[in-house]
């Protein structure tokens, strides 16, 4: 099945694009791992995740019962994966167009 190129305003912001890029492979990541990968403060990572969560692109969960401090896990939703793939296809199409001298 081919992915339809589609610009996604929510995903295009750099940190949110990076979050989706990581989750597109790992599907699930712990909040601290995501924050470290982005190289940003907790508050910045939280803000970006909130936007993605409100768009229905990621799901935040805090599993309990394992002892110690519960960690927040972030999971890419099927809608988030579709949106990321469509946005990536759009970026690739634009980059290919400029490489071929179109647009």
């Amino acid at each position: 099945m081919t992915t339809r190129p589609e610009f996604d305003e929510v995903i295009h912001a750099p940190n949110r694009l990076k979050i989706c890029a990581l989750l597109a492979t790992a599907t699930t990541a712990e909040f601290g791992t995501l924050r470290d990968a982005l190289g940003v403060a907790d508050s910045v990572a939280s803000k970006q995740l909130k936007v993605l969560s409100e768009a229905g692109y990621v799901k935040l969960s805090k599993p309990t019962g394992t002892g110690g401090r519960a960690k927040t896990w972030v999971t890419l939703t099927p809608a988030g994966r579709r949106a990321f793939q469509g946005h990536l296809a759009m970026l690739q199409q634009m980059a290919a167009d400029v490489a071929q001298g179109v647009g």
Binding site: L17, T27, Q48
Partner: protein
């Protein structure tokens, strides 16, 4: 701050972009995705015990099919529980999940391991001899360790060399 940074900063702060990216911005965004995938490759460091543990669990599950009825079910349950514990420990240690995308990035090695396991199951079911079961379990263990590590290398290579954002 460049024009792109300024535009993207507005997007992150307000979430209300007014412009579509230019082709140059699209290429810069693809570079961001590539860098993130390369970073992910560095973070996907599988603990040394993961594949030997997985090999033992898979060998137990396969050989449990030849166990007497009273032992078969408990061995199978122990194997499945062990599998869950291994995956859970991997997630806690790396802070990352191992999804079906991992399978997609290392398709050839994953399919090879799957074939070995399926053949092993058929052999154990058809040849009801303890020696054959033991040898099959050893083969499953070895295949898991060798092919699993090869799959890891393949995933890291593909992530470092642009699995998606080519």
């Amino acid at each position: 701050m460049t024009e792109r940074d300024c535009y993207l900063s507005v997007m992150e702060n307000n979430g209300e972009p007014t412009l579509r990216p230019s082709p140059e911005e699209a290429r810069a965004s693809l570079d961001d995705v590539r860098r993130m995938e390369a970073d992910l490759a560095d973070r996907l460091v599988t603990p040394w015990w993961y594949y030997p543990g997985l090999g033992l669990v898979e060998a137990l599950i396969v050989s449990s099919l030849a166990f007497p009825a009273s032992l078969s079910a408990p061995a199978l349950v122990a194997g499945v529980a062990g599998l869950g514990l291994l995956v859970s420990a991997y997630r806690r240690l790396t802070g990352l999940g191992m999804s079906n995308q991992y399978f997609a990035l290392a398709r050839a090695w994953s399919i090879a391991l799957l074939v070995v396991i399926l053949v092993a199951i058929v052999v154990v079911l058809l040849v009801d001899r303890p020696v054959v079961t033991a040898v099959t379990a050893v083969v499953v263990f070895m295949a898991t360790v060798v092919l699993g590590r090869r799959a890891d290398s393949a995933v890291r290579y593909r992530l470092r060399h642009g699995a998606r954002a080519r």
